[in-house]
Amino acid sequence: MSSWYFSHLTLIQGMLISIPLALSVQIALRSGVFSFASIGFYGVGAYGTGILTMRGWPVLPAMLLMIVASGVVAYLMSAPLIRLRGLYLGMVTFAFDLILTVVATNGGELTGGALGLLGVPLGMGTGGLLAAALVAIVLVSQLERRSVGRALVGIKASEELVMSVGVDLKSRKRTVFAISAALGALSGSLYVSTFSTVSPTSAGFTLIITTLTMAVIGGTSSWIGAVIGTVIITWLPTMAATIGEYQHLVYGVVLVLVVMYAPEGVLGALRWLWRRLAPKVRMARPSGGAALAATGPPGGPPPDRGAEAEAEPVPADRVKG
């Protein structure tokens, strides 16, 4: 076990680092904010934390500063951005990411040019990464529950609907944008203080594709999807050694297939299976009904959507995004 752990340490750490980043894209997509800006803020977090710790800052304050600063800057930036519709926002934030890589490349001494930062002090163990990933998961999953959750899901169903029930849509989107950026910065900060290096390419085009694949393949309807996607995309290359070279090509193809044929991702497929199977399982084991009655007895608390893939008591037609 422990030899397995040590030989896969890089992957395990990489996976934990990717979780906040995948969540940053998932929470944005789920709220109808088609933005890749968090990838740019991943770079900001990585470079910022790297530069500060190389100048003697302790890791945690450096990370916190970069996370908060990214959130604030993103909030300010978001005012004009969230007026952009769908794809346009995607393109602008995509450009934002690429501009940042150009800035990093031409940052001279400060950013280390094309090589990037080398020898950033190590400040993160696997335990720290796990804690950070868990905090990110808890914060994001809370936003899928209750009033806040309904409003955010509603945005995807119909913006007019959400506005007509009194939700300040602009402010919601701006806050989501800021949270997404902060999660990106968190992920970048974790990366640089774990692997002690960052270069302009590490927050570039391929990271956008990889992260988008993680979020979409798992399913953007819940944080669980982002986690599933992260796990799959982290371990897939080791399982199929041959795809190594064509990794991003494969991701691209998988992305297209998922979007076309399973828009709810792996999570959606699991839910669908669960809805088919749950009634049968319940019939086979009537006593197990209590545990499976995730929708709750009449008068009982409603299920926590997003806390788990829940059963529908009646097989519903597949719900389309």
Partner: protein, 275 residues
């Protein structure tokens, strides 16, 4: 509620009261089409108004303008005496306006109950991510209040049995009822209903008609868009009729629908009133 559903036909509006809704010379151009053109009308509080007109006459456009989902090209709209032209849709909603949509807008991922709950979320919760993160006990108590309101609304529409169902598994008529329940959960002062009974059978329609009358007697001001003129005549205090973006008639429903202009608008161009 004895005789709650009996209409008091000539109930006068309170003297000198500010009208709930005051539309002044409203015009909307949609891609070259004058969807609304110089429409002025008032809605006194506590009464049930019908807004009729053939397909494409601008009824939905007017409701969209009142709920601020659509900008007027010119003119103004006052809600409770307050000019709302510079307000956002969410601000108008918080002033006590709720609406249903002609095309049902439900969240497929959520149950019927949760869809209804969306209507009360803002007034009960306000909107804070921080509270959601830091004060779980607070959100829990709010959640219970929202749920109670949503259940009361579902009860009125006889939907309690379906509360845990995903809405897309339900018939179109039932989905419409969920839509109405969501609006009721907001406990609105002014309620805009865009064809709430489309796709419902006669019994269901009568049920909704009764409900709207009861709401009226509880003091909820309503603007009802319907193709079912019989229903309008049965329950509305006052009828406005639109045609091609113009207001062509206004008055007591029974008289209104006999006006030549109205008859022509409905029949002259071969458009049947029945949906």
């Amino acid at each position: 509620m004895t005789h709650a559903t009996a209409r008091t036909p000539e109930k006068p509006a309170p003297a000198a009261a500010v009208p709930s809704l005051d539309v002044r010379d409203a015009a909307v151009n949609l891609g070259g089409v004058k969807a609304l053109d110089g429409v002025s009308l008032t809605v006194e509080s506590g009464r049930l108004y019908g807004l009729a007109g053939p397909n494409g006459s601008g009824k939905s456009t007017l409701l969209a303008a009142i709920s601020r989902l659509l900008d007027l090209t010119s003119g103004s709209i006052l809600v409770g005496g307050e000019d709302i032209m510079r307000r956002s849709p969410f601000q108008v909603a918080r002033m006590g306006l709720a609406r249903t949509f002609q095309t049902v807008r439900l969240m497929p991922q959520f149950s019927v109950l949760e869809n209804a709950m969306l209507g009360a979320d803002q007034s009960v919760y306000g909107s804070s991510f921080l509270r959601q993160w830091l004060m779980p006990w607070w959100t829990r108590s709010r959640e219970a209040r929202v749920r109670a309101r949503a259940e009361a609304a579902l009860e009125r529409l006889h939907l309690m049995d379906l509360r845990d169902q995903p809405p897309l598994s339900l018939s179109y008529g039932v989905q419409r009822k969920v839509e109405i329940a969501r609006a009721l959960t907001a406990e609105p002062r002014l309620l805009l209903l865009d064809e709430p009974t489309a796709g419902m059978n006669r019994t269901e329609r009568d049920e909704i008609g009764e409900l709207l009358l009861r709401l009226r007697n509880e003091g909820v001001t309503q603007v009802l868009v319907e193709h079912d003129l019989k229903m309008m005549v049965d329950i509305c205090d006052h009828l406005y009729v639109l045609d091609s973006g113009h207001l062509i008639a206004s008055g007591r429903p029974t008289e209104c629908i006999r006006e030549p202009k109205v008859v022509e608008a409905y029949l002259g161009r071969g458009r049947r009133a029945a949906a």
